[in-house]
């Protein structure tokens, strides 16, 4: 081998290494980026909290007595404590990075527990005042209001030097993604319930019943074409077909979960049909022939012999479908909308995790941190699904030899 040729070979070899390295680098970069930006907000509260904070305007009635609880030892140095009101406050940052004051501790004999809702229209209504809520404002009769930006320390010293309180404005900690998670789960359930039967039956027909003729070919290629349609076009279809249909036949009055599910079901059909057909094809013909020879009819053979053998394949199809539902964004922006909601109704607007990321990023300024945290959740689910699919197909291949 001449030297020149060796050099050339070496060069070509190197660029293949380089190309492969880029794939690995991309994957690591994506994961790194998402985790570095998102891990700070990742806690259990994020998954269970509402997105919108609920605000309360609390006021005190005459005739309360002050607390006499000393600062408990369990509270750290950072907690500012008022003995008089039995209240421990601490400075913190919320998920958008703004300064907030969190209620760290409320003594059992605190007069603040007796607060009623000032803005209630139904007379005196008692309200919750618990640890974990945040205080945005305390107004007094005899001096200026203490606000969040003055910090917990000033707020506590203001409290200590007063006898009466005009109003405390406090709220739950918002910014959670509970609503989007619930929507995503609903959507997965309804979509699978629609798409799985139709997809499986279609695959069975195409593989077990259909004759080899022109009509079958046409049906097959019509389904095949669906795979190449971009998801935003499915979204337009959902908007043009399923949204009006659901508005007409249900109590919905805008894009809703049902229209979203139907749209997703159409997207998933080719995926499910293909995966099911693949697994039906692997079932050896000898099984079908023996079943038919034993006197079973075509239906019995299909349901009792072929389908059970193809079950792992169908399971894979389902998992693929779930992954697709979680990741889908473009179609759903049209088919269920981008409104982030806390109370989920299947006839109402709401949004999934993916679309939630999109709306967070479209906001000015974009909330990359919360978006990354949601992305971590999505990536975790997708990765787990991938691993399960791999395990199933490995088993499937082993079992069928």
């Amino acid at each position: 081998m001449s030297n020149k040729r060796k050099l050339k070979d070496c060069f070509y070899q190197t660029i293949t290494y380089f190309a492969a390295f880029i794939a690995v680098a991309t994957l690591s970069l994506i994961f790194l980026f998402v985790f570095i930006n998102g891990y700070k907000l990742l806690d259990f509260g994020l998954l269970t909290n509402d997105y919108y904070a609920t605000f309360y305007n609390g006021a005190l009635e005459e005739g309360y007595s002050f607390s006499s609880t000393l600062k408990p030892d369990s509270l750290s140095e950072d907690v500012h404590y008022s003995e008089k009101w039995g209240l421990g406050l601490v400075d913190d940052k919320d998920r958008e990075g703004n300064s907030i004051i969190i209620i760290e501790y409320v003594a059992e004999d605190s007069p603040l527990l007796l607060m009623y809702n000032k803005n209630s229209e139904e007379g005196i209504e008692s309200i919750e005042f618990i640890e974990g809520q945040l205080i945005s404002k305390i107004a007094y009769f005899d001096k200026g209001t203490s606000l969040t930006r003055t910090g917990a320390k000033v707020m506590i010293s203001d409290l200590d030097s007063t006898e009466t309180i005009r109003e405390i404005v406090y709220s739950s900690l918002g910014g959670g993604i509970r609503g989007s998670i619930i929507t995503t789960f609903y959507l997965i359930g309804i979509t699978i319930a629609i798409a799985l039967p139709i997809g499986i039956f279609t695959a069975i027909y195409l593989n077990e019943f259909a004759g080899k003729n022109k009509i079958t070919n046409i049906l097959r290629s019509l389904i095949e074409v669906l795979t190449g349609v971009p998801s935003i076009i499915f979204g337009l279809m959902g908007l043009a077909v399923f949204v009006p249909l659901t508005i007409k036949f249900t109590q919905a009055d805008s894009a809703n979960l049902i229209s979203g599910s139907f749209t997703l079901a159409v997207i998933l059909l080719p995926v499910i049909i293909r995966a099911t057909e693949e697994s039906l094809k692997i079932v050896p013909d000898s099984l079908r022939e023996s079943s038919l020879a034993l006197g079973a009819n075509h239906t019995q053979t299909t349901f009792k012999v072929v389908l059970p053998s193809a079950l792992p394949g169908i399971l894979t199809a389902t998992l693929l479908a779930i992954g697709r539902v979680i990741g889908e964004s473009a179609a759903l922006i049209f088919a269920i909308g981008t409104a982030v909601k806390d109370d989920i109704s299947i006839f109402g607007k709401s949004t999934t995790l993916s679309v939630h990321i999109w709306s967070l990023m479209k906001d000015e300024p974009a909330n990359i941190e919360l978006a990354s945290t949601i992305a971590i959740v999505i990536l975790m689910i997708v990765l787990t699904l991938n691993i399960i699919i791999k395990l199933i197909s490995k088993r499937f291949i082993r079992d069928l030899g």
């Binding site: 994957l27 039967p197 019943f209 259909a210 971009p230 935003i232 076009i233 075509h298 473009a330 991938n386």
Partner: protein, 323 residues
């Protein structure tokens, strides 16, 4: 009377058949209906989107006047005049933008993808190949919105700084370059996976023949195997460009949504058919709402034509038999 007679004889015939066969027919019909439903959706999509998308062209849009088709397809400003009061919509420049971006992203992702595929299939040791295959699968399974997030968090910053070094002001990095980079990352796994299958399916005899003639391993890989896998590689390119043309959310986060064009400069904002559809979602009636469906028709036609042309080229080019 005759009809009734005919019906009753038919019924008797059916009754004569045994019960099992009877069930078979019913089940078969049931499955056939499912299949017809599945197959009909593509027709529903075409019919309904066309029906909605054609409204701005054939009605007078509540007094605004109908949209001129020629102007719509060739113009260089998305909307002249104020929204809700103008019918002067154009997507001509957006079509060019879309094709330009898809082509550029393919120029990056096709060589990278094919080389990665070659590495996995022929060069890498078995363990490493298995690892890389998993990496590619994972990349393929990452939802597009996460690519969009990555794009606006990392690639925009990179492009912004890069432009800064060159002394060019870019609008926060939102540009042709950022869009192309995001799209090429997204199409990379598709191209790699399909190319790899076609490279692996090249016959051993061709490979051995080349080696026996004295070609080195690397020469064989590049000159013989890649050439033999041509048609599969081309197929992967077609799929990749399809994905690039139809991608919406990720693109809308990095394109910058230019309202006029076409944009050919790398560091200027751009817009694609899909990102245009995602803009201004607040309208719910009238021309500003229906025009989205018209853009949808254009997108479908663009994708279809691209596919037809590329498939034609593929037939001309991919003459080597691949198993």
């Amino acid at each position: 009377m005759e009809l009734v007679n005919k019906f009753s004889t038919k019924f008797a015939q059916i009754k004569k058949r045994n019960k099992k066969e009877h069930i078979d027919i019913v089940v078969r019909m049931f499955f056939l209906i499912s299949t017809v439903i599945s197959a009909s959706f593509i027709l529903i999509i075409i019919v309904f989107i066309s029906m909605k998308g054609i409204i701005p062209f054939i009605t007078d849009n509540n007094g605004i006047g109908s949209v001129n088709v020629i102007r719509f397809l060739t113009g260089s400003i998305w909307l002249s005049g104020t929204a809700f009061q103008s019918n002067l919509y154009s997507v001509g420049f957006i079509i060019i933008n879309t094709l330009y971006i898809a082509l550029l992203s393919l120029l990056i992702s096709l060589p990278l993808g094919v080389l990665t595929a070659l590495f996995i299939a022929k060069v890498a040791p078995k363990k490493l190949a298995e690892f890389l295959r998993t990496v590619v699968e994972l990349l393929a399974s990452i939802p597009s919105i996460v690519y969009g997030l990555f794009g606006s968090g990392v690639i925009l910053v990179f492009v912004y700084n890069f432009a800064d070094v060159l002394g060019i002001q870019s609008k926060g990095g939102n540009s042709v370059m950022a869009t192309v980079l995001v799209l090429s990352l997204m199409t990379l796994p598709t191209i790699t996976a399909i190319s790899e299958v076609s490279i692996r399916s090249v016959g051993k005899d061709i490979e051995h023949g080349s080696l026996a003639l004295g070609a080195s391993k690397t020469q064989t890989n590049f000159k013989v195997i890649l050439a033999s896998a041509k048609s599969g590689i081309f197929a992967s390119a077609i799929l990749g460009i399809g994905r690039a043309l139809g991608e919406a959310t990720a693109v809308s986060l990095v394109a910058g949504n230019a309202k006029s064009g076409p944009t050919l400069a790398f560091f200027e904002t751009t817009s694609t058919l899909t990102s245009t559809m995602l803009e201004g979602l607040k309208e719910t009636t009238g021309i500003d709402y229906d025009i989205r469906f018209s853009v949808g028709i254009v997108l479908m036609v663009v994708i279809m034509l691209t596919n037809v042309i590329l498939n034609y080229i593929k037939k001309k080019v991919g003459n080597v038999d691949v198993k």
